[in-house]
Amino acid sequence: MMIRPLLAIASLALIVGTVTYGLHLHNFNLADYVLPRLEGLEETLSALGRQGLSIEYGGLVVREASLDGAVLELTLTVRNGLPLALRVEGLSFRATCSDHGQLLGEGALSQPVEVPPEGGRSLSIDIHVIRSMMEHVANYHAYPTEQGLEVSLVASFSASLSLSLGGVRVEGESYLGTANIRFRLSE
């Protein structure tokens, strides 16, 4: 029975033949032939690094302020330069007094926000300052003027972030920086 060895040789020849033909098409450059093709991925990652993701500070507005409490509205712009949908699932802020380390207020995104691929979205987050924290503001950072009590302080912001990018979940905490806050306390 010669047929079995012949079939085995034919089987081997099909695989070895095509692999050798491929090597010939690559001018017998073994490294080019067997190493992963990363050129396209490197270009994509480089482009992503340039366009990437960013969360930019848009401004801080004091909506209400009295000795009973205050509401600060923080505006942020999320830019998504990636070809994947971004979902900001959680974003919470803590504002502390830079001079004394006293917690001033906390706020969080009320509901998840979708940012389309290669798009942007503006977010606004209310930071609530409760009465006990306002006492610190009134005691250490307020000064009387003809119009009433003026407040001037430097607040430090830190954020806790949870987002989903193309199904990949990213969580972390980050120090965002400081902002000068000036407002007048109403009676």
């Binding site: 029975m1 047929i3 079995r4 079939l7 034919a10 089987s11 099909l14 695989i15 070895v16 033949g17 095509t18 692999v19 033909y21 491929g22 090597l23 690559h26 080019d32 032939y33 067997v34 190493l35 992963p36 093709r37 990363l38 396209g40 991925l41 994509t44 990652l45 992503l48 070809p83 994947l84 949908a85 990018l165 193309g166 199904g167 990949v168 979940r169 990213v170 969580e171 972390g172 905490e173 980050s174």
Partner: protein, 217 residues
């Protein structure tokens, strides 16, 4: 009609047709492992692709290996059909050839599909994952891989952030078709043994009886 049925191996012909249909769907994956929408590893004996952010990173040699496997299955299907049309002894070898091609293809897919699970549960896990992650500047927090089908997750610590990569593995309809094809090939091979045995018995019956002791005086 009965004589024709005895001469043919209908199971082998159906198996050959199914092998040809599988080969015709060259680009279709049999098993898929996805990492969210960021990466997808698609495997069949005829094509392997690992797409990361839309870029295929599989080395060229794999394309030619799978091309060889595709040609082998095509040849296997043709020989399976040819063997199914014959009652001669060598037809069994032709059917075995076709059977081996689909068996190798399916085994290769199952072995590749089991790798993430074996990697995630073996003692080498920490070593291999740590090496791979260190190349990306990351540290592995936990790894759980799916076995052929299912879900798992890889958690990494990167630059102060925790990144969770969801892993989802599943087989496609082509995997089931290939499994059915393998069963048909095995049945066809067993059937062919019977067909050839009947043919051999009929030939023996047709042979004239040998005369014993009858020679020139």
């Amino acid at each position: 009609m009965s004589a024709l049925r005895r001469r043919l191996n209908p199971i082998g012909l159906v198996a050959a047709g199914l092998m040809l249909a599988l080969a015709a769907s060259k680009e279709a994956p049999w098993w898929v492992l996805s990492v969210g929408e960021v990466a997808a590893f698609q495997v069949s004996p005829f094509k392997v692709s690992l797409e990361v952010l839309g870029c295929d990173v599989v080395p060229s040699v794999v394309d030619y290996l799978t091309l060889g496997a595709w040609l082998s299955v095509l040849v296997g299907a043709v020989l399976m059909a040819a063997g199914s049309l014959s009652r001669r002894g060598w037809s069994k070898a032709l059917l075995s050839f076709g059977l081996s091609k689909i068996a190798w293809g399916l085994s290769a897919v199952i072995i590749v599909a089991a790798l993430p699970y074996l990697l995630a549960s073996s003692p080498l896990r920490d070593l291999l994952l740590s090496y791979a992650a260190s190349l990306l500047g990351a540290r592995v927090l936990s790894a759980e891989g799916p076995l052929l089908v299912g879900e798992g997750a890889l958690r990494l610590a990167v630059a102060g952030l925790t990144v969770t990569l969801p892993l989802r593995a599943y087989v496609t309809q082509y995997f089931y078709a290939a499994s059915a094809c393998l069963c048909l090939c095995i049945a066809a091979r067993l059937y062919q043994r019977r067909v050839v045995a009947i043919e051999g018995a009929e030939l023996q019956l047709q042979e004239p009886p040998k005369r014993h002791g009858a020679g020139p005086a």
